[in-house]
């Protein structure tokens, strides 16, 4: 049975891919990251920059994206949003997000990704690649989806009993035991063999979800939390496929029909069939390029336990990618991701002199994942970026100390060095120094480190005020290395 369904899945992926090839699809760029990594801001800034190229003078536009070759060479003539090819997928609400970012006094970071969405942007440029030179177009389908869903993909290969055991083991680790106390307490009151009861199942799912949510909180910033739809239910909220929870079940044991355990197992299977598999087939297996945004700063704020957890999550995410160098045959039948970029976002929250250390930490976080992807021929890179740059850099002299600081308007409620901000005051912040040895951030068990003890603390800032261009609409916002990311992801298609 599993073999048959796997075959059917592969066949439907190949058929879909062939259909894509025949109808002429664009380059599918996957944008993902765990929640609050900055996916929405990244896509909004990316689209805004590209579509507003016409509003910039030639000299200004060079300064905006010097590393993005097609842009800096002056070969990119126009970029416009187009109708997306998949009618059943929600459109990325670019206009709303941009309005939120550029709303003058009320500007705020746009709402986060709650479901999959898609946007097609078509680039018109002049190619200079030998005999294929001349005017060309490249449609790019940007696919935005929560990284939590990726953590579900390994579930495709796990039975209910196996998943239950792993989840229970994870919840007993030093970092999580305290957060999982309620749920583990509840587990002792129910057993898998007792008759099925909808109320108990709902209660179990509720408490389990509450535990997952607690892990995700700012203070803890844990990452590995499947099943992902429990945190990002989308439109499936309340359906039976989302109303289950792990129970202590022996692997291989037969659960009596009509028991609570059997009901949970059936729902777990339903979750895999109706949630995980369609996502894999319809969206995930069709990507050509992938950028994984990582909010390493939140994990660093929380402590080593959160950083290690993030590492596990990223490695799990990477096992889901079908990486490898692409060929004509693979393009037709089995698209492969041939370029993966890991980006530590919010790089504007620390001084540029610390970026090398941040990149080193990210390199370390994704080390296992990168080695795997490179082994099969994919190109992987790691950068520190900020899709929207909210700060400037300044040097602060206090007494004999010289500090490299960043200046901006911290969000209301942020606390640094005993100072709490109201969201209107501007401040220069010295966030502390990252260690020179990237391994040292993985050592220890601390979680939710209190502000007073931390050696670093990265505050969040409000978005910068957008300049108004000559046509009265907001000009592209400043960024850090967004151009480098674009060059890596798209550069070869725009040669």
């Amino acid at each position: 049975m599993p073999l048959f369904s796997d075959l059917a899945l592969e066949a439907s992926i190949a058929a879909r891919s062939l259909a894509d090839y025949v109808t002429g699809k664009g380059l599918r760029l996957g944008v993902t990251g765990l929640s609050r990594a900055g996916k929405t801001v990244f896509i909004t800034a990316l689209v805004h920059n590209l579509t507003r190229i016409g509003s910039l003078t030639v000299a200004d536009s060079r300064r905006q994206m010097p590393v993005f070759r097609v842009w800096a060479d002056g070969r990119l003539t126009r970029a416009a949003l187009d109708a997306q090819p998949d009618d059943a997928v929600p459109r990325f609400a670019y206009e709303d997000h941009l309005a939120a970012l550029t709303a003058g006094e009320d500007r705020h970071w746009p709402q986060s990704t709650r479901r999959i969405s898609e946007l097609r942007i078509t680039l018109e440029f002049e190619s200079k690649a030998g005999w294929r030179g001349g005017p060309s177009t490249l449609p790019i389908d940007i696919v935005d989806y929560p990284g939590e869903w990726l953590l579900d993909l390994p579930l495709l290969g796990k039975s209910y009993a196996q998943w239950s055991r792993e989840t229970l083991e994870a919840s007993s680790s030093a970092a999580r035991a305290m957060l999982a106390k309620d749920w583990r307490g509840f587990l002792t009151t129910i057993s898998a063999e007792e008759p099925a009861d909808e109320n108990k199942a709902r209660k179990a799912a509720e408490i389990f979800t509450a535990y997952l949510r607690a892990c995700r909180e700012d203070r803890y910033s844990l990452s590995t939390l499947p099943p992902g739809r429990f945190l990002m239910p989308g439109d499936m909220e309340g359906s039976p496929a989302l109303t289950f929870a792990p129970l202590p079940v022996a692997e291989g044991a037969d659960l009596p029909a009509g028991s609570l355990g059997a009901m949970m197992e059936r729902r777990y299977e339903a979750y895999r069939t109706h949630v995980v598999r369609p996502f894999f087939r319809d969206h995930f297996a069709r990507l050509d390029r992938q950028i994984v945004l990582v909010d390493a700063l939140a994990a660093l704020n929380s402590g080593p336990a959160a950083v290690r957890d993030l590492e596990t999550a990223l490695t799990d995410i990477l096992t889901a990618f079908r990486a490898g160098s692409s060929s004509l045959l693979s393009t037709i039948f089995r698209p492969r991701i041939d370029r993966i970029l890991f980006a530590a976002t919010k790089a504007d929250h620390l001084h540029h002199t610390s970026h090398d250390r941040l990149e080193a930490i990210l390199q370390h976080l994704t080390g296992r994942a990168i080695a795997r992807a490179q082994g099969v021929g994919a190109t992987v890179d790691v950068i520190a970026l900020a899709a929207v740059r909210a700060t400037r850099e300044a040097s602060v002299r206090q007494g004999r100390d010289m500090l490299d600081a960043i200046a901006g308007i911290p969000m209301a409620g942020e606390t640094i060095g005993g100072e709490t901000f109201d969201g209107r005051t501007e401040a220069a912040i010295f966030p502390g120094e990252l260690p020179a040895d990237p391994q040292s951030v993985f050592r220890g068990d601390a979680l939710a480190t209190p502000a007073g003890e931390a050696e670093w603390r990265f505050a969040r800032f409000r978005p910068p005020v957008a300049m108004i261009a000559a046509d009265g609409r907001p000009a592209p916002l400043p960024h850090i290395r967004l151009d480098r990311a674009l060059e890596f992801l798209l550069g070869d298609k725009l040669a």
């Binding site: 300064r63 010097p66 590393v67 800096a72 540029h352 090398d356 080193a360 400037r392 850099e393 300044a394 040097s395 602060v396 002299r397 206090q398 007494g399 100390d401 500090l403 490299d404 600081a405 200046a407 911290p410 640094i416 060095g417 100072e419 901000f421 005051t425 501007e426 401040a427 220069a428 912040i429 010295f430 966030p431 502390g432 120094e433 502000a451 931390a454 050696e455 670093w456 603390r457 505050a459 850090i480 290395r481 151009d483």
Partner: protein
């Protein structure tokens, strides 16, 4: 780290007032330059580098056979080979007709000649290939340095070390760079260290060669009795100089390779001619003028020497397996100061 020093590096916030100064009295705040603009600028290839790569593409790294000229020469070469074949055939048959022993001798000589030709042709092909590889390495190193790409830089430095494996005098520099490729060093830094350690001694040798050639050319031009003699001498010296420079940097130009090299040097001179106005051309004219006032012959000698030095510098940029970045590309006044300073001290 002591506790006091540690607490000094703890996270801190300084509230700013409207004048963008700090509210606290003992704190000074100063805006910094935008580091990302510098970073982006560094990602662009400098114009010198673009000139060198263009020049390399026109000569050393040119793809033959894709032009009509290439087709013409190939077809003509084929015809000539056929004609030679016919002629040899007739010759050997004639020899056999006269005496079988003579025929055998002729055949043996032909075989030896063919073998030698094969070896020569292989060597030529290898030499061209080697130069192409050096040019490709040059471009790749420039790109890796611009992008600060650590992995690419490591691989390229291994290649560069391979290029100088047979040079005992580079042993220490090679070992040092090799050690660094295994450590965590930024791509850009690694390339810069390799340039300082590995390229610098070679650069110095090349500069001495250029200086020597310039000196010889200027002296011979000044004293030679016939114009045609010094034309020949200058050409021979220039050819020798270009060849020597290529050899010092690890190339081994044969005949074809040399032709390609000359093309590249010519292209580089043409491209950079305009840029050099500010630097050497003015000096050249000044130097020439003062020397020429003393003696027409001497002036010609100085001018020829200066031109030889210019050719040498172009050959240097084209043959070098990596671009000039931390090392300053030499100007005429660096390699042949005697031609200019003598003019000044005489004046």
């Amino acid at each position: 780290m002591s506790d006091a020093a540690r607490s000094a590096r703890r996270p801190r916030a300084f509230i700013l007032d409207d004048g963008k100064g700090a509210r606290a009295p003992d704190v000074e705040i100063e805006a910094q330059d935008d580091a990302y603009e510098h970073e982006a600028l560094a990602a662009d290839l400098p114009p010198d580098e673009v000139a060198v790569e263009q020049a390399q593409k026109r000569g050393i790294a040119a793809r033959a056979l894709l032009s009509w000229a290439g087709v013409f020469w190939s077809a003509l070469g084929g015809l000539v080979t056929l004609a030679l074949g016919l002629w040899f055939d007739a010759l050997i048959e004639g020899l056999y007709a006269r005496a079988p022993a003579l025929g055998w001798v002729g055949l043996a000589l032909l075989a030896v000649a063919a073998l030698a030709l094969l070896v020569l042709a292989t060597r030529e092909a290898l030499a061209v290939f080697r130069q192409k590889r050096i040019a490709a390495m040059h471009a790749a190193i420039a790109a890796a340095r611009a992008k600060d790409d650590r992995d690419a830089a490591r691989a390229l430095m291994q290649q560069l070390i391979g290029l100088y494996e047979r040079r005992p005098e580079t042993a220490r520099a090679r070992a040092q760079v090799l050690d660094l490729t295994r450590e965590i060093v930024d791509g850009r830094d690694l390339i810069d260290i390799a340039e300082r350690g590995l390229m610098h001694p070679l650069d110095e040798r090349v500069q001495r060669e250029i200086a020597g050639a310039a000196k010889r050319v200027s002296v011979v031009t000044a004293i030679s009795p016939r114009a045609i003699l010094d034309v020949l001498f200058v050409m021979a010296q220039t050819a020798r100089l270009i060849r020597r420079i290529s050899e010092i940097y690890g190339g081994r130009p044969g005949f074809l390779g040399f032709l390609r090299l000359v093309k590249s040097v010519g292209a580089h001179l043409a491209i950079t001619g305009g840029m050099a106005v500010g630097d050497s051309l003015v000096q050249q004219i000044v130097g020439h003028g003062i020397a020429a006032r003393l003696s027409a012959r001497l002036g010609e000698g100085v001018l020829n020497g200066l031109l030889t030095a210019r050719v040498g510098i172009s050959a240097m940029s084209v043959c070098r397996p990596m671009p000039f970045s931390v090392e300053k590309p030499p100007g005429v006044s660096d390699v042949a100061p005697f031609l200019l300073s003598r003019g000044k001290s005489d004046a």
